[in-house]
Symmetry: C2
Subunit: 88 residues, 2 copies
Amino acid sequence: MFETVEIKEVKSEIGALVKALRKQRGHSQSQLAKSLGVSRTSIQNLELGKNFTIDTLLKVLKEMQVLEQLQGELIRTKAHVLNSKSLY
Amino acid sequence: MFETVEIKEVKSEIGALVKALRKQRGHSQSQLAKSLGVSRTSIQNLELGKNFTIDTLLKVLKEMQVLEQLQGELIRTKAHVLNSKSLY
DNA sequence: ATAATTTGACCATTATAATAGTCAATATAG
DNA sequence: CTATATTGACTATTATAATGGTCAAATTAT
């Protein structure tokens, strides 16, 4: 047990999710970049699992209308953290 | 409807979550920074809702052993995206 | 209460993400 | 098949995140 998840792997999965969201909406990297006011290189790096800033990611998620969901997850996760007794 | 969530707000919530996780484990910013091999300033900026890189965030989440959960969410979300018919 | 620790707010420097551009390889459309 | 659009892979430059340091204010421990 305690399977280790690599950071690199998670970044790639974030990239794959962004690409899936973008494709589903029928946009090219250029179209998306333009509507967010960022460079296509930023979208490309995000999708290819390179390093990127939280701003770039959140801009995409807002455009894709999944920012609310992320916020919900954050609030739930934090509540869960605060309610569970510390084991540390 | 279509309540707008601000990026700034979400960054602050991520910061609050990280701070809650850290406090629960009884670590100082300095301790956490050292164990991740990043500067305290990076932890501080993350917690205060400034901009930061995905690497910094994922390092923290890995240390806090919540990276698996995030990965699970990503996979579920992507599956949901791919299974739902496009409205676009 | 006071001593010790932690945190937020700086600053200067370094590392690197973001930008704008090009081009060949793929993919998509006609 | 041919034309068009898109993507991945570069490069050079600029903007900014990360670093390492200090210090006063706030918090926590004694």
